[in-house]
Amino acid sequence: MTTLTIDHVSRWFGNVVAVNDITMTVGPGVTGLLGPNGAGKSTLIHMMGGFLAPSTGSVTLDGQPVWRNEQIYKRIGVVPEREAMYDFLTGREFVLANAELHSLGAKAAQRALATVEMEYAQDRKISTYSKGMRQRVKMASALVHDPSLLLLDEPFNGMDPRQRMQLMELLRRMGAEGRTVLFSSHILEEVEQLASHIEVIVAGRHAASGDFRKIRRLMTDRPHRYLVRSSDDRALAAALIADPSTSGIEVDLAEGALRIQAVDFGRFTALLPKVAREHDIRLLTVSPSDESLESVFSYLVAA
């Protein structure tokens, strides 16, 4: 059982604070590190992997420091986000080199290649690989020494749906085997499908932590904003505000639309078409105006 402990970790670059006083514990199973682009996920993963010193605080793996401790890599497997990976080698040569650097041999390399199902292309140059194939060979290089902690930085970036499913299945298996698996993503659905435990990072801060259902509830229970255009905005507004699912409506004259704040997401979405039909109003536009991940995150930070 491997536990990664991040204790009051901050990291700044000059005047910019990339990671701000984060404390979390990552245990066995699959954990998703969720946050919008630029939130500090990569900086945090670099510190978890021992490639960057925290400005303050400490990162330890079962009590051992990660920074400046190369022996820790006997237990950590890293799948970096960046593409570059000795493109002049074949997949097999690359994984074998990684095995040798762990004082392991061809057998371990072959097993890792089999795990990611890359044996069929192992003798091709990495430079000829697709994004998904590269990702799988990176994965093989990280698994070659059977690590108890696996760190993956945006592993699904640029993968097609089938490759994504395969990698998810593999990570699920790793988690079920009792390994500690942490991956970062800025895509809610990816994290939802794979991780039971989620850590949310926004603007360098630890915004939320817990199981997915809890975070999902926070997200759906928050007030939703909609932009609605109809054949009779004022009549629609009058009918909607009578219902408790709506907490506020603004008639935006410049836009020629209604800005509606709904407090009960489920009830509002059922109410809107019903009210329109009853009053013979045509709905021209119904669009959520704050569905971006950033706005969901900013709500979570406030919560």
């Binding site: 190369e70 890599y73 570059a84 000795y86 650097l101 290089s141």
Partner: protein, 239 residues
């Protein structure tokens, strides 16, 4: 200390890409120049000394040193693939030491060997000139490889700085300011070459004891420091 896997990756990185072409271009040019000079002027010790001293040792060896020394680690740090070396239980100084050996071997192969061949073409090793400059190239290869490997570890603009050092410091300042010559790898190498070959044409502004001490100090210190820098190398993220 020496890690064969790191060495293999470094060799293939150095010799596989376009870099091999650049590495090969200068030695070919040297040999062509030597052949042309020999045909035009015949065997002349002074001319051989001028070509080997002025072009081979003063220009070609440091440039090859820059390409091999910085190329042994710089591209991996630039593109981030060094993470595959750093995420292993391998001591950082062992990575640097191995890369140094590779850089020295490549620099020697692409500079000392062609220097010797050029010397034979120019005057058939008359007055031991070919041997002297070959020894100088071998000695200089070690110090240059260590210096430029360090540069490749600490700077993203290692090639530019390396070329500036090799061409401006060694060539320009060295010929104008006598004090600069004391701090010139080229002069240290010449001191050793003078001693080994006993050639009267090959001389140095620096005494042998000073040259030997400086060569060792620079090589050891640069290698040690590069190892320390690699231990705390920060891999910048995409953010």
């Amino acid at each position: 200390m020496y890690d064969p896997t790191v060495a293999r990756l470094t060799y293939r990185g150095l010799l596989g890409r376009r870099r091999a072409l650049i590495l090969g271009a200068l030695p070919v040019l040297l040999i062509v120049i030597s052949a042309v000079v020999r045909v035009l002027t015949g065997a002349d010790d002074q001319v051989a000394h001028d070509v080997l001293g002025g072009f081979a040792l003063a220009t070609m060896v440091p440039i090859i040193g820059v390409i091999a020394g910085t190329g042994a680690i710089g591209p991996e740090i630039d593109d981030g693939s060094v993470v595959y070396l750093l995420s292993k239980p391998v001591k950082r100084p062992a990575i640097i030491f191995t890369k140094l050996i590779v850089a020295i071997a490549v620099t020697m192969a692409f500079s000392a060997l062609p220097t010797f061949v050029a010397g034979l073409i120019l005057n058939g090793n008359g007055q031991q000139i070919a041997v002297a400059y070959t020894v100088a190239a071998l000695v200089a290869s070690i110090a240059y490889a260590a210096l430029f490997l360090l540069l490749g570890t600490v700077s993203r603009h290692a090639v530019v700085f390396g070329l500036v050092y090799a061409l401006v410091w060694e060539a320009l300042f060295g010929s104008l300011v006598s004090g600069a010559r004391t701090l010139s790898v080229q002069q240290w190498a010449l001191a050793v070459a003078h001693k080994v070959s006993d050639s009267s044409l090959v001389t140095s502004d620096v005494g042998l004891p000073t040259a030997t001490v400086l060569l060792i100090v620079v090589t050891v210190a640069a290698t040690w420091y590069a190892g320390q820098k690699l231990r705390t190398l920060t891999l910048a993220g995409e953010e």
